[in-house]
């Protein structure tokens, strides 16, 4: 009898978890998003070299308009590739586990992730508008970190730690303006790959 009750409790617990958290998020998404960021970041380094700007010294904080256009296009391409990889591997994982993708938990996850990111996007656009280029990389890290912390309730709680790392890294990079690209590559590249591998191994 008490065996049955124990099983009942286990069942209740697992149903609560399954219905409120989106568990099909794939670690591979993180790994590929990280690689995309590293390639994009490397491309930006090449761009700087071509324009004869040393990002490390960053004496010329006002960049010319062509370079900024190229940077924005590169950033958008990185975003599109990273998100596509994320969606691709996540959908693949849900199909493999026979779980639906578009559920209330995945909607909650997306909404809670997107809201801080959207606000951060407006914030960074304003920075670009005022030519405060050096603040953009730290801001993207901070807003992305906060978005992950916000979305943690709706998926694996591990992403909370990724969020905290990203947000702190962003704060730290505020003290090293001009080296933002390297912090950005570390945060969006290395940390993504690192946490992607952890998630992948843990929830395979």
């Amino acid at each position: 009898m008490s065996q049955k009750h124990q099983e009942d409790l286990l069942h209740i617990r697992s149903m609560m978890e399954r219905s409120s958290r989106f568990i099909s998020l794939s670690g591979l998404s993180g790994i590929f998003a990280g690689i995309t960021a590293l390639i994009g970041g490397a491309y930006v380094c090449v761009l700087f070299e071509n324009y004869g700007i040393d990002y490390l010294t960053a004496e010329r904080r006002v960049y010319n308009i062509d370079l900024i256009k190229e940077l924005v296009v590169t950033a958008l391409l990185i975003l599109i590739f990273a998100v596509s990889f994320g969606v691709f591997f996540t959908v693949r994982k849900s199909k493999k586990n026979n779980l639906p993708v578009w559920t209330s938990s995945s909607k909650n996850l997306l909404f809670n992730l997107a809201l801080p990111l959207f606000i951060g996007g407006i914030f960074c656009t304003a920075l670009l508008y005022h030519n405060l280029i050096a603040f953009i990389a730290p801001s993207t890290l901070i807003f992305y970190g906060l978005a992950l912390i916000n979305a943690e309730k709706y998926t694996f709680s591990d992403i909370k730690y990724l969020g905290i790392s990203e947000a702190f890294l962003g704060c730290l990079s505020l003290f090293f303006l001009g080296k933002g690209l390297y912090f950005w590559m570390f945060g969006f590249g290395i940390l993504h790959v690192f946490y992607g591998i952890i998630l992948f191994k843990k929830y395979k």
Partner: protein
């Protein structure tokens, strides 16, 4: 008997426990999602949800999205209280052993 009498007969079935567990942590959940979560058949879900509605533990909403009918479920306050009591009894039973 004592404590055993207090176990809610409504929650004897796994399916009903499942429905209640899902609804206690979510707002409206629709038929297809619930079916997938519990991995049960249409008829099974329909009969158990109807029984829970009869006890006024859940609310059933039927509406049309375009031309398709859509059924969604939500827990009632009575259901929330009853389910929490049931959980407490289960816990007591296990601890009393």
């Amino acid at each position: 008997m004592g404590i055993i009498d207090k176990l809610n007969k409504n929650f004897e079935s796994r399916v009903r426990l499942g429905i209640m567990s899902v609804l206690i942590v979510n707002d409206w959940v629709d038929f297809t999602e619930m079916k997938a979560l519990l991995s049960i058949t249409d008829g099974n879900l329909a009969s158990h949800s109807a029984a829970l509605e009869k006890s006024e533990y859940i609310e059933i909403k039927k509406e049309f999205v375009g031309k398709k009918p859509k059924t969604s479920y939500r827990i009632t306050n009575l259901g929330r209280v009853a389910f929490k009591e049931h959980l407490n009894y289960l816990e007591k039973l296990i601890n009393a052993k």
